[in-house]
Subunit: 661 residues, 2 copies
């Protein structure tokens, strides 16, 4: 229902178009600890009276509000910032109020300039200070009293004027405003300050069973220890493991997802649960819980965090099936329903019924899985197919976990309808998979990433760019070979601040099942043995790119992506700036042919004149180029390096008079 107005109630400062504010305040926006959080609003009222406004905020656990003055930014827009110091949720709102002393001063100055008589106005000013006196305390009060005494004692108008316009007097009036006529914005909004890894990180996905020490023998959690140095050495921040739980036996899938499985087939890790346990157990062939804790600790020693998979479905052999058949869907004949997408049947998986009669117990149990792994030191969960479970469940679950463990990062693995993906992000997921794998061409990359980083979505959805996943070997990789792998790697690592690779990417593995995005002989159904040092592998480039990301703050931000014009339709040009750091990337999107293109850098917004020299440091190939002008030419050969990454180097012309480098 609309705002209503009451007879005689004229006190109102208008606070509108507060930003950020999602869906009328229904959902929090997301930022990261250390950020300066900026809030702006239209603040005004009728007439020409001066106003003041404050941004009020508090960490959710605090009861007291803090305040920072808002500053007018033109056209009745006001802005203020505060620093997000803690990994928590903050509330914020705005209060605006008339500033009668400022209004009075503005008016008085006009009258003085026009040589008008101001004796009556001075009395009005003194009356305003009398009013201020009621609120002033301590030394301020004493000072104000003495100003007023001096005013009333003064004989001349000019002394009186001086006393009231004195900067100290104005400061006192500002310090003790009359906020009885203040208007508080009618909603309290929220911002979540996640830890920085929610925004900036490189993820590496690997199946522990394929990280074996010897060919032909399944890898264990202990074997993983030996890979930590390699993975951390490439510059990754997160090692994400597909489910490590016992794998079901009933309708276990064999190689390439076929039935029946051979006795030696290990099964899909996503068919969770057997006689050794369910979501809180570890597949015995991988090792023990102790081994897992050791892995978590060792990884931390390498600067790596372990991320686990949170996949809420059960194999028919899962303990829940026996202990809580009421948590699943029943057919009319009483049997439990397996997952289906007719005509496809997934008989190795039972979906959970989140609305079952015993749902409160079910939800608690599902929450306890997370708490269990949190107890083992895990703080990152990649959530499998969240879009097939109720949105309110995720809202509740993530809220419950974050209330106690605000440092937990949830990555939503939803490749579904856009609105559903947005909703998952809005209700709490820290990061989201995106359509990146299927955006290959210039116009579609520009359109999609402009949407991701420059619309409301940027306030709540952090797009994680996985260049491949065990489920997605995109056509561009299948067809484009190594040049495509390099090109997609550069895009993933520089378009977003958070990206990931599924192991094998560095070896340019690209054999697919026919007419499919599934890997041939997928690791989902068998144990892989890889030669990590195979010729032409991309480990060096990955290491280099992750180092570039760590050295350039601009690449660590998400919402600062900007696209720039390029003359060739195969060449994409974009950049990121943060503080003094400005990075520009040009990528040849065609993995088959070299292309040359003019690109137009945003010199004007960088404050670089058309005749000013600046340097472009080539971060991939090394070297610097001293150049001039917004338009630069690049030639990018997929057979060599299909991309260039420039860091802009400025010269302090004014200080030194000539370019120096």
């Amino acid at each position: 229902m609309s705002v209503s107005f009451v007879r005689g109630d004229a006190h109102s400062v208008w606070i509108q178009r507060v930003w950020p504010e999602l869906d009328g305040g229904r959902y929090p926006v997301k930022r990261e600890v250390g950020d300066e959080f900026e809030v702006s609003a239209d603040i005004f009222r009728e007439g020409h009276e001066a106003l003041a406004a404050v941004l009020r905020y508090r960490a959710i656990k605090d009861t007291a509000w803090r305040e920072v003055p808002m500053i007018p930014a033109g056209n009745d827009r006001w802005v203020a910032r505060f620093r997000l110091e803690e990994n928590t949720r903050y509330r914020y709102t705005i209060e605006g109020y008339p500033d009668p002393y400022q209004s009075w001063m503005d008016d008085l100055k006009k009258r003085l300039a026009a040589g008008m008589d101001v004796s009556s106005e001075l009395l009005e000013g003194a009356a305003l200070l009398d009013n201020t006196l009621e609120r002033a305390v301590g030394a301020d009060r004493v000072q104000l009293e003495s100003i007023l005494r001096a005013f009333h004692a003064a004989a001349s108008l000019s002394t009186r004027t001086q006393l009231l316009l004195d900067e100290g007097t104005c400061d006192l009036a500002r310090l003790y405003p009359d906020r009885s006529a203040a208007t508080r914005y009618d909603r309290e909004l929220e911002v979540i300050a996640d830890r920085p890894l929610a925004r900036f990180g490189a993820w590496y996905e690997a199946f522990p069973r394929s990280l074996g020490a010897a060919p032909g023998r399944a890898g264990t959690l202990k074997d993983c220890l030996a890979h930590l140095a390699r993975i951390a050495g490439m510059g990754f921040d997160v090692l994400y493991l597909p489910p490590i739980h016992p794998i079901g036996r009933t309708f276990r899938k064999g190689r390439n997802g076929t039935l029946p499985a051979a006795p030696s087939d290990p099964g899909s890790p996503w068919a969770i649960g057997n006689e050794y346990g369910g979501h809180k157990a570890i597949e015995p062939s991988l090792g023990s819980l102790e081994d897992f804790r050791t892995l978590v600790t060792a990884a931390r020693g390498h600067g790596l965090e372990i991320a686990l998979d949170y996949a809420l479905q059960c194999s028919p052999d899962h303990p829940y099936v026996r202990e809580h058949p009421e948590w699943f869907y029943a057919r009319p004949d009483g049997t439990i329903k397996y997952a289906e997408n007719p005509p496809k049947k997934y008989q190795d998986i039972y979906p959970l019924n989140f609305s079952c009669r015993d749902r409160e117990a079910l939800w608690e149990e599902l929450k306890s899985i997370l708490l269990f792994w949190i107890d083992q030191g895990v703080r990152i969960f990649r959530v499998d197919n969240p879009h097939t479970k109720p949105l309110p469940f995720w809202g509740w679950l993530i809220g419950e976990i974050h209330a106690v463990h605000p440092d937990v990062i949830f990555l939503s693995e939803a490749f579904t309808r856009p609105k559903l993906m947005y909703a998952l992000a809005k209700i709490g997921f820290s990061q989201s998979y995106t359509y990146f794998t299927w955006r290959n061409f210039k116009h579609e990359i520009i359109e999609y990433f402009t949407e991701l980083t420059h619309t409301d979505e940027a306030e709540y959805l952090r797009g994680s760019l996985f260049a491949n996943t065990p489920d997605i070997l995109a056509p561009i990789l299948q067809q484009g070979g190594r040049p495509a792998f390099v090109m997609r790697l550069v895009l993933a690592a520089t378009l977003s601040s958070t990206y990931g690779l599924y192991s094998g990417f560095e070896l340019c593995e690209n054999d697919a099942l026919p007419d499919s995005e599934e890997y041939l002989d997928s690791e989902k159904y068998e144990i892989k043995v890889r030669n990590w040092d195979a010729p032409e592998n991309l480990s060096g480039l990955i290491t280099h790119l992750n180092a570039i990301r760590r050295e350039n703050p601009a690449l660590q931000r998400y919402r600062n992506l900007q696209f720039y014009p390029s003359s060739d339709d195969n060449v994409l040009c974009y950049g990121k700036q943060h503080g003094d750091n400005a990075v520009f990337v040009c990528v040849n999107l065609d993995p088959f042919d070299p292309h040359e293109s003019e690109v137009r850098l945003p010199l004007q917004s960088l404050g670089i004149g058309p005749d000013e020299r600046f340097a472009l440091e080539d971060l991939l190939e090394g070297g610097r180029h001293l150049v001039k002008g917004a338009v630069q030419t690049v030639r990018l050969d997929p057979a060599e390096t299909p991309a260039v990454i420039w860091r802009l180097m400025r010269f302090p012309h004014k200080a030194f008079g000539t370019p120096c480098y």
Copy 2:
């Protein structure tokens, strides 16, 4: 505060991005009686279950809600419309709910197509119908019972399948949905259905005292009667009169706003009130209240409505000053404050203090002014300087009046900061003056009118385009002479559906005070005598334009303005479409020189192929042109006609095979 989620509560259909919704539902949007009001929203939930949704609405006086089904429009967007039948305020909201029978059918059809066994699924379908039976009534219930009996009696699966997939069965399931799991959108939104004149009308502003019967004698309300035929004959819908109340004597302004006034000077009508009364009285020299009622009735007979000025300030001689000095601002010495904008003094005017101690009585009295004139048959008020009075006052006042008289139209005369103009429109004003008078060039007209008609503003602010006012003789008219008057007239009459002229415009009066937008010898301070039949007057063109507006529904809509490319920077091309009616306008914005330009018409969106012939009917000059292709050339000479108005005529190719005209 953000949405919160409860353990176990998974029932939720997501209803987001409802449109129209202003500022999270704080303000109503505006439409007009007879409009089909369209509401859309993102409606979805997790998974792939089928959903249904209804748009719920009711006129504010009704208690019962009506419902219309929403239709999916792709990408989880749903749309519905309802007709605004009454001149009132409507509430609307949305309800979405799962449609399990549809989900079941979708699933069953896939299984049947794959040749799967569906015996268990048929039992589930029957169970859903059993559930439907609980809600079905009357004949529907009987029919459903018989379907279920037949189902259970049927031996073959195919008979059972046929029974459950039968269209009649599906209709019954849809007719009695289980809405226990429905989600209601959490806000009720509002739309105001104004009468059509709020959107479409031509206004004529005239000072009654200048409509005298004989030169040298001040006009009276009776004299106005003789002008009604002329004004209505030009096609105007509204005759707006500046204040007709007694005019103050203290500090009365003389010719060109100077002091002191000569004894014969009539004073500014906006300095309201003297010994004959205030806002509810009529200036004796104009006539009696009886004369005014006669004028209102006579005007209606000509299809004209009288609009009055609502100017809330008082001359020092106003009865309020004597009777209610507490309603005004006092100086420290106890005298009443006159209006000031230092160094300018407006000693002939006292502003009201809307926050004074006795404000409730003041506000009631100000409301009673409107009710008084409403009693005399007035339904349109042009409100003087609303931006200097409290916004909550207007919100309250307009709400009070509209609750009883929804047909009253309020025009906001605010030329102030944009945000304040928006706020006045949001809280209730039906129409708003705009910056039109100061938008002369192509890029600024395109930018401003795109903002007015294609942003949120279009939902609540109806821009009224006055080509001139007693306060604004724009530089383009001062300098451009008659060609500029013609050009600005065409722009005003075709860019917006509602526009106005201040009398004298048709005579191309353009003598200004030096360095000012004020008229020289302004009618605000003296009585004018005009020769309405002066050579080169624009009455014929005004009549023609208003007839074109009445004949073309596209020109009667406000939010359908579209700009089209033109090759010459002096030529503006735009159009409006409504139903089958499509009108295009090309205007030479340079009053001095002829310009030729190519313009590109939107053939594709009109469904006209590049090789298809169509006709452009020249609505100003007459004649038709049979043409082909989107690009047309115009040459516009300000000395002749600086604009062309085309109506698109299509030919039913398919019916007749050849163009016919």
